[in-house]
Amino acid sequence: MHWSVADERRDEARSAETSRRTEGAGEAVGVEMPAAVATVMQVLRERFPHLDVVHKEDEWVEARVAPDELPTVARFLRDDARLQFNFLSSIAAVDYVEKGFEVVYHLLSLPEGRRKLILKVTPAGDRDNPEVPTVTDIWPTANWHEREAWDLMGIRFTGHPDLRRILLREDWVGHPLRKDYQDRRPVRERQFKEDWIGRSG
């Protein structure tokens, strides 16, 4: 509600200014963003023409890689002077049940922070034995990430120097983050002090 013509005019002026600002900001981001994205996509497509490289949102470029090709692609991503993906931010494993598993690598280029890449790998092998080659020799930080993915999701990383469980007990059965995981732990009974006096258990 406007109380006077002057108020109305002032409000119009304000809203016009706001919209101009947002447009400007949008353009600025729009100009900056594809620069990093475009470099990554261009370099990747140039070196691996058969790769499925897409840009979905923000500054993240997504590439789908076959498992046997992963070490080659990973080494290139780290060593190429235009990309320099020297930081493996995380490894995630996803269970899509019917579509099987997927291993997702988040890569970051520390020299150019906006250069970001998501690598998606569908493991070879069946549900009992999904296999992906290790990237520990390329990014040493992958060691524990891969152990975690093995521990909780049961992805077997071939060539890993020490693929043991990292979070759960050594004698754990199964991989609990799988969608079909069944809890088969024996039931623990409540303990009463009378049973413990004078002994240890």
Partner: protein, 163 residues
Amino acid sequence: MGLIDNEHVPGVITLPLRRLINWSRKSSLWYLLFGIACCAIEMMATGASRYDFDRFGMIFRASPRQSDLMIVPGTVNEKIADRVRTLYNQMAEPRWVIAMGGCAINGGPYHGEYNIVDGIDKVIPVDVYVPGCPPRPEALMHGVLKLQEIIANEGIRWEALRA
């Protein structure tokens, strides 16, 4: 002297040995320096100067061999459960346990999760349960006072003392 001769001597009190022993036990509850999760932060706050466990004669010991009380502050997962049981076994009797916070009582917010033991009383016997997520220092102190009540009324295992 004392009650036997029906005579009052200044500076001398007469009481059953059971009460004397229990009084000394409840007045110097040394607890194990031991924390599992976020409740441990609250336990540290209770032990520090503002809330001051020392006034109950409670100081932490870094060895289970010298501890009377184990406060279990936090989520007990399958991996730590064995360690907690080992530590409890290493404590000399008499020994007491306080389950601090929802997780130690029955799993709390993690109840039924794949790696969680639903309550420390499924591993070792518990004397006092202190609810909260996490309990405030006042709540923990209240739990300690409750434990002191329990200790004051406990029986003594004389055969264990003789041995």
